[in-house]
């Protein structure tokens, strides 16, 4: 047996050694090929939301090859599966020239620290569209001051915002709530005074879903952002702030009065969308965006109006907080980043080529210029009549879009760094259904009058935060859920906060505050114009 064991082990080791050698050999052979060929070959690995997934060597790829004189070798995986494959690819040392991710997450920091990516500080200033990227976003994609990623623009005012059944308010003679007290009143009335007039007690005042999804905070003061300070002047997460305590107290009151679905704690948010569209929920959430407000799987005014023809909705503006602030938490202002492999450090020509492509594809075309006559727009969209058609003055994508349009290989544009929030207005023009136009108009109006708070935490990379925050958030969500349904008395709030701190919250707060101080940043307000 012993002999067998040793033979087996040596066989395994040998196999391991062979496997470890081979990929390296393969790679060196491809790079020598690059040297001879005048065309630069670029391997590109990224997630996508396009459907069908763009295939290697499709028409769009050929157009890119022609335009930039490169041999473009992209590979796309649907984003919901992307991280799994990326992790294996990176771990096996198979790093493509360009790697995309959805956000500057813990993996991004880890791989950056391990030297997988190329710092781009010396390059980015040369490119027009990168110049307008705000420092707060550069901070996010940098580690120790080195810019490892190129962020893609995403409006920071996006994200789910509360909406209310205006027709129910009108019918019951109620005003738009402006604080939690009024909200509680409205929610209870929605649930008990039969706003849909069917004689049955079957309506829910405030929609709430498992895990407190979409956080019913109605303002950054009550939300989960790092906004409040503790008595030592340290910034703390929203979950343990006085704002959260107030929010949970009112939610508990609403729950006891039957204004919240009694099963909410186990209800997935998709079900709440379904119930809202069936006309059973008074307050729920949706975000501005193309075709938003008219998508059957999320909030859908068209479906709602099939059962309630005169249904009307309105956005709920943020409440004024005890500290006189009034606004929502803003997003980080970007979505998706692209990194370049560190192996390109001796190949500045290739780096410049890649950045040139990114720069070119990142230009934003405002809605009124999105026509077939606009040469740039027509090219990135795959050509009029092929990748898109202009219908009612707005481009409508064809089924072939993801295979013929070069932009489908790069980014779904949400706007430009230099365009401010132009894209928010463009949603109205670009949405097809009248219900979506209506929804985006009313949300756009509300949000353009709203201030937004940008938390400094997204701009730093704290190991303690990355390591412990998910577990802490889960703990907090569980405890807050218990308090809302009355399983844990709110009088135990201080005990809950102590538990949170003891579970590692203290270390996270200390580390985050240290980094914020070191980087000389703080929470910022983006004021409405």
């Amino acid at each position: 047996m012993k002999r067998f064991m040793s033979i087996t082990l040596s066989t395994v080791l040998l196999a391991g050694a062979l496997a470890a050698c081979s990929p390296g050999g393969e790679k060196s052979s491809t790079s020598t090929k690059d040297g001879k060929d005048s065309k630069i070959s670029i391997s590109w690995f990224d997630g996508t939301w396009e459907t069908p997934v763009p295939e290697p060597g499709n028409e769009a790829v050929k157009k890119v090859n022609e335009k930039f004189n490169v041999d473009f070798q992209p590979q796309y995986i649907p984003f919901d599966l992307y991280t799994d494959k990326l992790t294996v690819k990176m771990a096996s040392g198979d790093i493509p020239d360009v790697v995309g991710t959805e956000a500057a997450d813990a993996n991004f920091v880890k791989w950056s620290n391990q030297g997988a990516f190329l710092p781009l500080n010396d390059y980015v200033d040369k490119y027009e569209t990168f110049k307008d990227i705000p420092q707060s976003v550069w901070d996010v994609v940098s580690v120790d001051g080195k810019k490892y990623g190129i962020p893609l623009y995403f409006p920071s005012k996006g994200g789910k915002k509360p909406v209310i059944r205006q027709d129910w308010l009108d019918k019951l003679g109620l005003e738009m709530p402006t604080n939690f007290e009024e909200l509680t009143e409205v929610a209870i009335a929605f649930a008990t005074k039969d706003p849909d007039g069917n004689g049955k007690n079957d309506t829910v005042g405030l929609g709430l879903a498992k895990g407190l999804v979409y956080d019913p905070s109605f303002g950054v003061y009550w939300g989960n952002s790092w906004y409040h300070e503790n008595k030592d002047g340290q910034l703390i997460p929203g979950q343990i702030s006085d704002g959260s305590k107030e929010k949970v107290t009112y939610l508990n009151e609403m729950f006891k009065a039957g204004a919240i679905d009694k099963d909410w704690a186990i209800k997935p948010y998709n079900d709440v969308f379904k119930e809202f569209n069936a006309g059973k929920v008074g307050i729920w959430y949706e975000q501005p965006g193309n075709d938003k407000g008219s998508q059957p799987q999320s909030l859908d005014l068209a479906t709602l109006r099939k059962s309630v023809p005169d249904a009307k909705i309105a956005g709920i503006p943020p409440f004024t907080a005890p500290d006189n602030s009034q606004g929502f938490a803003g997003g980080s202002g970007y979505y998706r980043i692209w990194m370049l492999s560190a192996e390109l450090k001796n190949d500045p020509k290739k780096v410049e080529k890649i950045l040139e492509m990114m720069n070119y594809m990142a230009k934003y075309v405002p809605a009124e210029e999105q026509t077939a006559d606009n040469e740039y727009f027509d090219w990135i969209m795959g050509g009029s009549g092929k990748g898109y058609n202009i219908v009612d003055g707005a481009p409508q994508l064809t089924e072939e879009f993801s295979q013929v349009a070069p932009i489908a290989l790069f980014n779904q544009k949400q706007g430009g760094w230099d365009m401010d929030d132009q894209s928010m207005q463009d949603y109205v023009k670009q949405s097809k259904a009248p219900e979506a136009k209506e929804f985006n108009t009313l949300m756009g109006e509300m949000l353009s009058n709203t201030d937004f708070y940008i938390s400094p935490v997204g701009r730093i990379h704290s190991d303690a935060y990355n390591e412990k925050n998910a577990a802490l958030t889960e703990f907090a969500t569980n405890e807050l859920t218990k308090m809302v349904v009355g399983q844990r008395p709110i009088s135990e709030w201080d005990k809950y906060v102590d538990e949170y701190l003891a579970k590692g919250g203290k270390d996270v707060i200390a580390d985050v505050n240290k980094l914020i101080k070191e980087n000389k940043i703080k929470g910022e307000w983006v004021k409405a114009k």
């Binding site: 295939e55 649907p78 569209n277 193309n290 994508l397």
Partner: protein
């Protein structure tokens, strides 16, 4: 049979029948539910808490899926991989199991090797590197070869072969048959139940292969039905990709009905195989359990 039993036993029987029927119902109900929802309109699905029988039957979901080139293509890929993969797996497993069931040189050592992989897997990343190094990446063979032999199946099949009387082989040797002839003309025909059972194990495994397909295949044209299916279902679930799916896109039919239809379409083909193999399958469970 029931008549010859005492009344008290009859009651027990009846209770058993009712209980088992109820249990069977709980297993079958999800299939029924998928079936009706896949034919329902979204409005009706939204309004009814538990949809048991739609008033209007529509084919929207099926039109959407069957109209998608990707889905049909991936179904073809999956059928191909399943058929080829099952044949390859069965052949390799049977050959190795047979060889290891005879007294050959180093038999114990090889059995040990097999048992070793049974207990210690190489893990995802080393396997990925091997697939890459052997040039299987982006080839459908990557779904077939790395998992061609399941060590568990191999061991059980070996037990089965060992259970076949040695006299048969000896008689064949006297008649002048060589090893290959003995294997193909005598052993395999005797092992139909085993082959059917393991064929089914392999086929279901390959049919459901999803992560390996995603991992090893970069060309979407080669993705299996499970990958595409998941994509159809997930991409229809608007909220997951609120951040992503902002660009204009045609509204597909609602996620729920499409999801149900897609699951049915992807399950039915492999489900159809079961009845044909059922009789072998029942026998197959006993494989290797009793050694004569």
């Amino acid at each position: 049979m029931l008549n010859s039993r005492k009344p008290s036993e009859k009651i027990v029987d009846m209770t058993n029948v009712i209980l088992l029927a109820l249990i069977a119902l709980t297993m079958l109900f999800p299939f029924y539910y998928m079936f009706v929802v896949s034919f329902a309109t979204y409005e009706e699905f939204v309004k009814t808490d538990l949809l048991l029988f739609p008033k209007t039957w529509v084919l929207d979901a099926y039109e959407y899926i069957l109209g998608s080139k990707e889905f049909i293509r991936s179904l073809g890929v999956t059928i191909y991989v399943t058929v080829v993969g099952t044949l390859v797996s069965l052949m390799l497993t049977a050959m190795m199991a047979y060889a290891l069931s005879r007294n050959i040189l180093g038999q114990k050592f090889y059995v040990f090797l097999v048992l070793f992989t049974f207990v210690f897997g190489a893990g995802m990343i080393p396997t990925y590197m091997i697939v890459q190094a052997t040039g299987l990446m982006d080839s459908l063979w990557a779904l077939i070869i790395p998992g061609a032999i399941s060590s568990f199946n191999l061991i059980v099949m070996r037990q089965f072969f060992m259970g076949l009387p040695m006299d048969l082989t000896e008689a064949a040797i006297i008649d002048g048959a060589n090893d290959l002839q003995i294997f193909s003309k005598i052993i395999l025909p005797l092992s139909k139940p085993a082959l059917a059972a393991f064929g089914l194990f392999y086929a279901v495994g390959i049919w459901n292969s999803y992560f390996t397909a995603l991992l090893y295949l970069s060309d979407p044209a080669k993705w299996t039905v499970q990958v595409v299916l998941r994509q159809i279902v997930i991409l229809n679930q608007g909220n997951l990709l609120d951040a992503g799916m902002q660009a204009g896109m045609d509204n597909p039919p609602p996620a729920e009905t499409v999801g149900m239809a897609a699951i049915l379409i992807a399950t039915i083909p492999i489900l159809i195989v079961y009845p044909f193999l059922q009789k072998h399958f029942a026998k197959g469970v006993m494989l290797g359990s009793v050694k004569e």
